[in-house]
């Protein structure tokens, strides 16, 4: 799950000709890796990829700070 999300961020959200490494613990929000438009795209990607719906109230920092947070949130949601 981590890898799918990281790949999406790397390939679709970060537009740069320089290679950027992201690991599951990197702060996606404070570091500027993902902007607000990117965050919206990431949410719709996750909804499609994992076939679930993320309610607006769940779009909070605790759930989306890092890829690890996103995975934890999704796992809790599925179970």
């Amino acid at each position: 799950m981590d890898e799918t999300i990281i790949n999406y961020i790397k390939n679709e959200l970060i537009v740069s000709s320089e290679a950027i490494d992201i690991d599951a613990e990197d702060d996606l929000l404070g570091s500027g890796l993902v902007d607000s438009l990117g965050m919206m795209k990431l949410v719709s990607f996750i909804e499609k990829e994992f076939e679930l719906k993320i309610p607006a109230q769940d779009m909070v920092i605790e759930n989306f700070m890092t890829v690890a947070c996103i995975s934890d949130y999704l796992k809790a949601k599925v179970s």
């Binding site: 537009v15 740069s16 000709s17 320089e18 702060d27 929000l29 404070g30 570091s31 500027g32 993902v34 902007d35 607000s36 438009l37 965050m39 919206m40 607006a56 109230q57 769940d58 779009m59 909070v60 920092i61 989306f64 700070m65």
Partner: protein, 526 residues
């Protein structure tokens, strides 16, 4: 008398020393704490041999340190230059060299980006705000705050001295620096404090980053009013549910942002159950607020006043339109009337004033006006309109480039642009700059760009259509996007890029932009 940026703080400390000036996440700073920290930074800058008028870069997101930097730099007589940490490093390096920045102030979370900026030789001498093994000297915040500032004599600063240089998109393909003095900054802070009646018991949300000109409300007006500023973290501005929680929790009384931020909250349905009864002003600017969203917001927050704020960064603010309870929103909101201490002309393309009621370019003369563009007299002169009053005295107006007309109520109404400047999520983008960047790519022969209007929560985006070299070049559009992202801010990178074999042309062999748009819409958007 408050006539410089440091005097804003000095005044607030006199009135409310222990009052909370800033809040950021779990941190909080009183007015006297803020002054002490700014003083320590100013002292350190003087020890680093900063001379009056020297430029100092501020490279960080919204945070408490960005306020300390603004007030510390100006206290030392320096000129601050906001640098957007989200733009590519080559663009940052260009800005640092363009205005000859010797000292850069940052925070540890920008460590990775600072590495990139300083890897190759650059004019920088010091990076303040982190500790790291770099080619240039670094000084951590801890050391800044330990600087003894008790005996220091700060330079004498006048209202007419340069205070900051704010960069914006330039049509030549390079960003241009807008120079503001303490006077123009204070004229704005005083004007906005009065128009919106900002008071010490207000809680102002700081949503715009420092490099976006509407940030001056939180950085200066709020402190002039001795109010409390709640600095929104980057994380909050990206996650609407967290943002609406924070607005409710902090009991924000004054909100000011580009419309996009509010539209996102609204369209996600995150505002309905929140108690936002503390809000008394909702201000927006940077671009037109789509009326269907604005109407819903007004219904949702009946107790709040809504204000459309207008003014290019070159003049800060120059008009206001506050929505009266009885006002019916049928068309886009007017820009409103010019505020106090401001005059205007509406000019035709020969710089002649038009007849009342006709379209023309808005020119503004005011105390809030910039000194000029950094290191570019020619561009400054082109942007001005002069009316000769005496043989050696002119009234000098800034030509905004915005086409307006005056309506029957005497309000100015926005009609369009007379050039190719567009707004993306409130930010100014010169389409010529985007095209210039595309053409720099080795495989691109010609490029045109336009704005794709989207009345939804993602906002307008830029579309590019390019022609590749005729040598059979193949290039992926992702590569072209990355090429743009290497030099342009994120919001200026085309969201869609299409490749055509040839552009439709007019009989005079000019590229027919309208035909291209229609063709792309037919071929790709069904």
């Amino acid at each position: 008398m408050i006539y410089t940026i440091p005097k804003i703080l000095e005044n607030a400390v006199k009135g409310h020393p222990e009052k909370e000036a800033l809040k950021y996440m779990s941190q909080s700073l009183s007015y006297s704490d803020l002054q002490q920290k700014a003083k320590a930074l100013a002292t350190l800058l003087l020890q680093l041999n900063l001379k009056k008028g020297d430029r100092v870069g501020i490279y960080m997101n919204r945070c408490i340190e960005s306020f300390i930097a603004v007030y510390g730099i100006t206290m030392a007589g320096g000129v601050f230059v906001p640098l957007d940490p989200s733009v590519p490093k080559d663009r940052t390096r260009f800005l640092i060299n363009d205005c000859d920045i010797a000292h850069l102030i940052t925070i540890p979370t920008q460590s990775r980006a600072i590495d990139g900026i300083t890897k190759e030789p650059i004019s920088l001498k010091t990076v303040i705000g982190l500790e790291k093994d770099l080619e240039v000297k670094t000084i951590p915040w801890k050391q800044v705050f330990e600087t003894n500032s008790t005996e220091v004599v700060f330079p004498r600063i006048l209202g007419k001295d340069l205070a900051y240089v704010m960069y914006t998109s330039g049509s030549t393909g390079l960003p241009k620096g807008i120079m503001h003095t303490h006077n123009s900054c204070l004229a704005y802070a005083k004007g906005s404090k009065e128009v919106y009646n900002v008071r010490a018991n207000d809680v102002v949300a700081s949503h715009a980053p420092l490099h976006f000109d509407i940030s001056t409300f939180a950085y200066f007006t709020a402190l002039l009013a001795e109010a409390t500023t709640v600095i929104l973290s980057d994380a909050h501005t990206k996650l609407p549910a967290s943002l609406s929680q924070l607005m409710e929790k902090e009991k924000i009384t004054i909100w000011y942002s580009a419309p996009q931020a509010l539209i996102q909250l609204l369209s996600k349905g995150l505002l309905e159950e929140k108690d936002m009864s503390s809000l008394r002003w909702v201000l927006f600017g940077g671009e037109v607020f789509p009326k269907k969203y604005l109407k819903r917001l007004i219904e949702l927050w009946p107790q709040a006043m809504f204000g459309n704020v207008y003014g290019p960064a070159e003049v800060n603010q120059c008009t206001y339109f506050n929505i009266d309870k009885n006002y019916k929103i049928e068309n886009d909101l007017p820009l409103g009337e010019v505020w106090e201490n401001t005059d205007y002309r509406i000019l035709d393309n020969k710089d002649m004033p038009v007849e009342k009621g006709l379209h023309g370019i808005l020119a503004i003369r005011s105390e809030t006006m910039m000194l000029g563009y950094w290191n570019n007299n020619e561009l400054t002169e082109q942007s001005l309109y002069r009316e000769s009053i005496l043989s050696d005295y002119d009234y000098v107006f800034f030509k905004t480039g915005d086409v307006v007309k005056e309506n029957e109520n005497g309000d100015l109404v926005f009609v369009g642009r007379n050039d190719r400047q567009v707004k993306i999520r409130g930010y100014r983008v010169e389409l010529d700059e985007v095209e210039a960047q595309l053409i720099k790519h080795e495989n691109v022969r010609e490029a045109i760009t336009y704005v794709e209007k989207k009345e939804n929560d993602s906002g307008d985006t830029i579309t590019a259509v390019v022609l590749l070299n005729t040598d059979g070049s193949i290039v992926d559009v992702k590569v072209l996007q990355a090429h743009c992202a290497d030099n342009l801010p994120k919001y200026a990178v085309p969201e869609q890029i299409y490749i055509m074999n040839e552009f439709p042309r007019t009989t005079s062999d000019k590229v027919d932009r309208n035909k291209i748009k229609t063709k792309i819409a037919e071929d790709y958007n069904g």
